[in-house]
């Protein structure tokens, strides 16, 4: 039993504070973990990419037509998938955060599914559906439509793996915001489109923007599912992550790291935007709460 009168501390520290040596030991270990796990690998990407100088780096990116095409293809596939997933994310968040219906919990769980299913399995299932020997294979060949080993397959695979991102960002945000303003707008005669444009979108804009950017980062970096459905035709169906793998297999490490550094840069920008937007969302939410309590008092 601690006896407070004979406590060795002249000024007792707060009971929920840890002694300084524990604090600094834990901080030191945590920072060492972060350094070895995150910081050094991040630095390593850029050091390896620029190892032969800036000119060689640029040549690795632009000088190789297949690499250039992979950048172009990623810039086509990712935004297409992001647009489709944004529409889905808005619809899902509206249905789940604004209404109560049977099966709501199951639907929320279903949206998380791609986080647990292996991307390779997803790619395989798409292949079994649309590939030559797949369910729709013969029909697609008759009508001369290519899905697998072509652009639509890449988009489909990317969509599956990334569709939860925006919905998961929006659902908790819209639940936290509540529906009072929207209900008020409708009772004042707002049409659905007006409601959406003037009330809903402005209040979720930062969360939505972050969702879109994170979804884009995941879409540009998707590997497993795309790997299976792309067929690896260099200069045709290789996206940037696939190009990294191919250059790695060809022992072209500088080329591989050059492409990797572009994607790492994208990840860094994503984090920067996230930090800024989270701060703004929090500020907006606090502002709303302040206004709401003021309104309540008035």
């Amino acid at each position: 039993m601690a006896d407070l009168t004979t406590s060795p501390h002249p000024i007792p520290r707060r009971a929920h504070e840890d002694p300084a040596w524990v604090r600094w030991l834990l901080i030191g270990t945590a920072l060492a973990v972060m350094t070895f796990l995150v910081v050094i690998p991040l630095v390593n990407v850029f050091v390896e990419a620029f190892a032969d100088g800036l000119a060689a780096y640029w040549q690795n990116l632009v000088g190789d037509p297949d690499t250039l095409h992979s950048i172009f293809l990623t810039l086509m596939v990712a935004p297409t998938a992001v647009i489709l997933n944004t529409i889905f994310g808005l619809a899902a968040a509206w249905a789940i955060a604004r209404f109560k219906f049977p099966g709501r919990a199951a639907l929320t769980a279903l949206i998380d599914l791609p986080f647990t299913v292996s991307p390779v399995v997803v790619g395989l299932f798409l292949l079994l559906l649309f590939g030559l020997q797949g369910v729709f294979g013969p029909w697609l060949r008759e009508h001369d439509i290519k899905i697998v080993f072509a652009f639509p397959g890449l988009v489909l695979a990317t969509c599956f793996v990334t569709f939860p991102v925006i919905a998961r960002e929006l659902i908790p945000l819209m639940e936290a915001l509540g529906s009072d303003e929207e209900v008020a707008a409708v009772s004042l005669g707002a049409k659905p489109l007006q409601l959406f444009r003037l009330i809903t979108i402005p209040s979720i804009k930062w969360g939505l923007l972050y969702g879109i950017i994170l979804c884009n980062a995941r879409a540009m970096g998707e590997f497993g599912a795309v790997f299976v459905v792309s067929g690896h035709i260099a200069g045709k169906t290789d996206t940037m992550p696939l190009r990294i793998e191919k250059l790695f297999q060809e022992y072209n490490l500088p080329g591989s790291f050059a492409v990797a550094s572009v994607l790492a840069m994208l990840a860094l920008v994503t984090l920067l935007v996230k930090t800024t937007l989270e701060w703004r969302t929090r500020r907006d939410l606090e502002e709303r709460k302040r206004l709401a309590t003021q309104g309540g008092e008035a």
């Binding site: 601690a2 929920h16 524990v22 834990l26 901080i27 945590a30 920072l31 972060m34 796990l37 995150v38 910081v39 050094i40 690998p41 390593n44 390896e48 529409i87 808005l90 619809a91 899902a92 249905a95 789940i96 209404f99 109560k100 219906f101 639907l107 279903l110 599914l113 986080f115 647990t116 299913v117 292996s118 991307p119 399995v121 395989l124 798409l126 079994l128 020997q133 569709f163 209900v183 409708v186 659905p192 409601l195 995941r218 540009m220 590997f223 497993g224 790997f227 992550p241 990294i244 793998e245 790695f248 490490l253 591989s256 990797a260 994607l263 990840a267 860094l268 984090l271 996230k274 930090t275």
Partner: protein
């Protein structure tokens, strides 16, 4: 109040209908195709493909590397979450943002980088290989990249829970004579147990299916460093679609069992500790 919403707010049918349509197109239809292909094998062929020695070795490797990395992540991730919530130190905001880096970084880049760090002469390999620790092209390498991949899931699950803990309870425990360690073990830990389980589960489930990073670092030797998703791709490249589908179905079943177990565990721990 929610019922009021359905009467007042527009778009319930449209948004729910579209969500269901998109989900069934994205999930139900491809899955049906997968099971259809797997079921086109006879029962003997299915078991031969799905439970061959090579496949069993791959499942076992996938399971234990995922488990090991999730355990490591709970320890490291828990530590990082605790430090970020409780203490002040320089560059705290920067480190807090960097936690999400593994989630934003493409897995292929992660595999490439850890490969180059761990090979002989790499930044880590230079020190580890002389000690006999082979990180590249080994099972250890698989665990290391899986720790990287799962890290943000554990930290981000634990952080809000640690933030919401009432400090008064700790003070009460101290007043009643508990030392700091007892307070942690008997008061704090039980209340974060559900979050620890969720974080562990997310990291574990994510690791089960990971492909992009592992394929760079493991060397993919059958029976030794070949994880189940890599085996699926290898079977595909031999045009053995049925066998690939059979292994994929087992992998999918593992994911579902994990999710189910986790849900039950969470409910159990919420009932006992909550």
């Amino acid at each position: 109040m929610i019922d009021v919403n359905r009467r007042v707010l527009p778009g319930f049918g449209l948004s729910l209908g579209y969500t269901m349509l998109y989900l069934s197109f994205m999930i139900a239809v491809p899955m049906a195709a997968g099971f259809w292909k797997a079921s086109s094998l006879s029962f003997e062929d299915f078991t031969r493909a799905a439970f061959s020695d090579r496949a069993m070795a791959a499942y076992w490797l996938t399971l234990w590397t995922s488990f090991a990395s999730a355990v490591i992540n709970v320890i490291f991730g828990g530590l990082v979450a605790w430090v970020l919530v409780r203490y002040e130190f320089p560059l705290k905001r920067l480190f807090d943002s960097l936690v999400d880096f593994p989630f934003a970084l493409p897995t292929a880049v992660a595999g490439l980088v850890f490969g180059s760090l761990l090979v002989e002469g790499g930044w880590y390999g230079r020190f580890l290989v002389p000690l006999g620790i082979e990180g590249a092209y080994s099972r250890l390498g698989i665990v290391i990249v899986l720790v990287f991949i799962g890290f943000p899931f554990v930290v981000r699950t634990l952080q809000p829970v640690l933030e919401s803990l009432e400090r008064d309870i700790e003070e009460a425990a101290a007043c009643l004579g508990a030392n700091r360690f007892q307070t942690f073990a008997r008061v704090l830990f039980p209340s974060i147990t559900p979050a620890v389980i969720t974080g562990f589960a997310l990291a574990f489930a994510r690791s089960l299916g990971e492909y992009g990073s592992v394929v760079f670092i493991s060397g993919n030797m059958p029976y030794k460093t070949e994880i189940a998703p890599v085996l699926v791709v290898n079977r595909l490249e031999e045009f053995a679609y049925g066998e690939a589908a059979a292994i994929a179905c087992v992998l999918l079943a593992m994911s579902f069992v994990t999710l189910l177990t986790i849900n039950l565990l969470e409910r159990w721990s919420a009932r006992h500790h909550g």
